[in-house]
């Protein structure tokens, strides 16, 4: 197995009295696509959102335990949460473009951080370049290059989700968290998102939460299976899908439950 990019140790999450993640320990390998599988309410999204500390923004949440990114605990009191979220991007189930133009959506991250990487040119030229590069990487450039100043709200849902992908990529994340990224999309739009993720996986560590077994089979190099807030199975996808160890995983994969 390749080296672990993220290590979760004894992670517990409570929403009010509800104990959603129980002593979670797992590792996410570097690069490739890791799928988090499991039935609804098993803690998939909770685990995902704990990886960039987005959970903290929800009321009444209590989190204990550690998550290590490149050996550093992201829950350390000295850890910088905005820096973390720059390294770990997030793609939500339903696309939420920011209330501004297509261009400004992609430029939002670089502007917030005041980082405009590029070889030459003025700040604006570099920003133009960043916007174009990331819209291309998200497979949206062809459709919007002539109306970059139009409100993002004018785009279709599928285009909006690709815009959200471009927006996330514009801050050059090392890890990309995707929470059921195709659940609000029609099959064709979903396929485009999947193929974009697939083409990104050599450069970025991608973690996809999904309850679609077929999607996980198509995409994943590595699989985690969650059950009622606990990890019941993990490993390379060929191993998990072909020779699952846990009885519940077998039942889940064969379609008896979930």
């Amino acid at each position: 197995m390749k080296s672990a990019r993220l290590q979760v140790q004894n992670l517990n999450v409570w929403y009010g009295p509800q104990h959603t993640l129980k002593d979670m320990c797992c590792e996410i390998p570097d690069r490739g696509i890791t799928a988090i599988l499991g039935p609804s309410g098993c803690g998939k999204t909770t685990l995902l959102k704990s990886l960039n500390r987005l959970l903290e923004e929800t009321e009444n949440t209590r989190i204990t335990g550690e998550v290590y990114l490149d050996g550093k605990n992201i829950y350390d009191p000295d850890a910088c949460v905005t820096e973390l979220r720059t390294k770990i991007g997030f793609l939500a189930p339903k696309p939420f473009p920011l209330p501004m133009s297509i261009y400004d959506n992609v430029a939002y991250g670089p502007r917030v951080h005041g980082r405009f990487p590029g070889k030459n040119g003025s700040r604006k030229e570099r920003l133009d370049d960043i916007v174009e590069r990331n819209l291309r990487a998200a497979g949206l450039w062809q459709e919007v290059h002539d109306r970059l100043r139009a409100p993002a709200s004018y785009l279709s849902t599928g285009q909006q989700q690709r815009l959200c992908l471009a927006r996330a990529l514009a801050v050059q994340p090392e890890v990309l968290l995707c929470d059921e990224p195709t659940s609000a999309l029609d099959p064709l739009a979903a396929q485009r998102i999947e193929s974009q993720l697939f083409s990104l996986k050599e450069d970025v560590t991608i973690i996809v939460v999904t309850h679609l077994l077929r999607q996980a089979r198509r995409l994943a190099d590595h699989v985690l299976v969650l059950w009622m807030g606990e990890l019941i199975e993990c490993g390379p996808s060929s191993q998990v899908f072909n020779q699952p160890v846990d009885e519940r995983t077998k039942a889940y994969l064969s379609g008896d439950i979930g």
Partner: protein, 282 residues
Amino acid sequence: MNRRMIEEKLFKGLMLASLLIVLGSLGLIFLTVLKHGLPALNLAMLTQTPKGGYYLGKEGGILNAIVGSLCLAGGATIIAFLLGFPIAIYLQFYATRRRIAEVVRLTMDVLWGIPSIVYGAFAFILMLWLGVRASLLGGILALAFLELPILTRGMDEAFTMVPTALKEASYGLGATKIETAMKVVIRQTAPVILTAILLAFGRGIGDAASVLFTAGFTDRLPDSLFRPVASLPLAVFFQLATPFPAVQQRAYASALVLTALILFISILSRALANKMKKHIIR
């Protein structure tokens, strides 16, 4: 016809009736003000300050009150916004899990319900204590207190309507709370914020009781923060209280000016709000 259909018809009728009552009274107000005010309205009323004997029916106009009211309500709205905006941001972004948010909201709601004469009296006592005379500044402060809860709660409610996922989208890109508030939430709620500002401005410009003691009245145009200033509601009040029919008609003309002013601002802000709506994410 069965019972459910009758019920449906009955409630439709009741709704229509209450709509007619509301629209009817609004129409009657407009008609009354127009009927009594329009004959007395002329260019001099809008462009001149009261000359000697204006309140006896002689020459002059109410420019002092028009400019005074705009200064009072404008200044008060700016101050109320400067105070209320940080409060609303704090309530939504920093105090979400704390009891203090509930206490602040309750306080604001209680303040909203306080009659404006009480604000006037309170501000007057405060001014006596500080040794400040009735002035533009006093009026602005009294009105700012009156407008503060309207603006704060208006913005607070607007921010509440912002989807959590939209805020998370901004946080997820590494933006801080204040960046998210200033760059995303404000844009998303701009039309509602504008409406809240208009509501507060309308309440401020139309209020007579809170400026009665605090701003006083004068025939001069406002030229200093520390001198008394005229206002349209008090101009209406004083002119209506004279025994001269001609001056009473001018009171209606003043009311007409006040109404037209508020109508103009409403339409303007609606147009602006519609322009802002294209970016809103649903």
